[in-house]
Amino acid sequence: MARRGISEINAGSMADIAFLLLIFFLVTTTMDTDTGLIRKLPPPIDEPLEDNDKVKKRNIFEVLVNANDQLLVEGKYIQVTDLRAQAKEFIKSNPSFPNVVNEDNPSYPDMPEFKMTEIPVFGNMYISKQIISLQNDNGTSYEMYIKVQNELVGAYNELRNELAQHRFGTTYSELVQKSGSSDAAKDKMKAIKKTYPQRISEAEPKKVGGAE
């Protein structure tokens, strides 16, 4: 240290001060970005739906969850791990199934109708009229509800991924990522979205099953 003039400030404790601050920010930091399942609620309605808005039963994939977290899908009791495969089968279905309703025939497949629709990139295609109807009980646990939602969203995502892989050799999630920068990817994404439109309808919950 020079004796003449003003002596230099001792910077030895600089590291200590910085460490103190560093530890403070280390402790207070929360790195978690919020993740979740994004859904859209239906707009509020004042009047009940008219009768001609009713959907044919064969187009509906009925999912019921009761207060004991049990799952009833299309009248059958199944496990939540089997739900995705069944939902996929229903959403994809097959346009060659008979379009004429013949409820007397036991072998008549309870699968949705198809309608010729124009899709931007693909041209005319048979698009299923599928709707997934989800109804839960007031006593259903939130954990179960999310599992069911997750499986249904997963079924759509997997089908979209398969279609994207088949048509464009890429996954749907990649298309979604690229859609911000590339118009071509955006069109492809929209086409796939229109081929497998996500239609999950949630009925108002019933109080059955005796909970609360």
């Binding site: 910085a18 920010f25 979740g36 609620l41 509020p44 009980d137 006593g139 259903t140 509800y145 939602q149």
Partner: protein, 158 residues
């Protein structure tokens, strides 16, 4: 740093620590930039369920949070163990949700008011009854874009 007295003859010189403050500062700035301070203190037990098909919420400024769950242990003596709704920093009743929606909308730019995501942070042990009521209340207020806050996982079990 030759201030340290050498005890033995064979000892190696001390490591130069002059760049230590620089390293620490670098780390410090990293954490300062990435840090997000908690805006609310949780008054409910909040363990969100796990899911595989999650997506990230993009703009944090356009997210409003609604917490639902049992009151935390310290508050259970006063509030009991029935699930409660927490908005901002306080327990609220269902009737307050319209006001909450209005307030959150007023806080945002008029152009972006319809793009607010309503993030439901619900404890996994909650029953759907209260969640459905909140959803119906949000629906009446035209707050339609909702997000069920979940953690990412690779596989779900039965």
């Amino acid at each position: 740093m030759s201030k340290f007295r050498k005890r033995g003859k064979k000892e190696q010189p001390a490591v130069n620590t002059a760049s230590l403050p620089d390293i620490v500062f670098m780390l410090l700035f990293f954490f300062m930039v990435t840090t997000v301070m908690r805006e609310t203190s949780l008054k409910v037990i909040n363990v969100t369920p796990k899911a595989t098909e999650v997506s990230k919420l993009e703009r944090k400024s356009l997210v409003a949070y609604i917490y639902i769950g049992k009151p935390i242990k310290a508050l259970q003596g006063v509030y009991g163990t029935a699930p409660r709704i927490q908005l901002n920093d306080a327990f609220e009743e269902l009737e307050v949700i319209p006001m909450f929606v209005d307030m959150e909308k007023k806080d945002r730019d008029p152009k972006e008011r319809n793009r607010i995501t309503w993030s439901l942070k619900v404890d996994q042990d909650t029953k759907m009854g209260i969640v459905s009521e909140v959803k119906q209340a949000l629906r009446k207020e035209n707050a339609l874009k909702i997000n069920y806050s979940t953690k990412k996982t690779d596989k779900i079990s039965n």
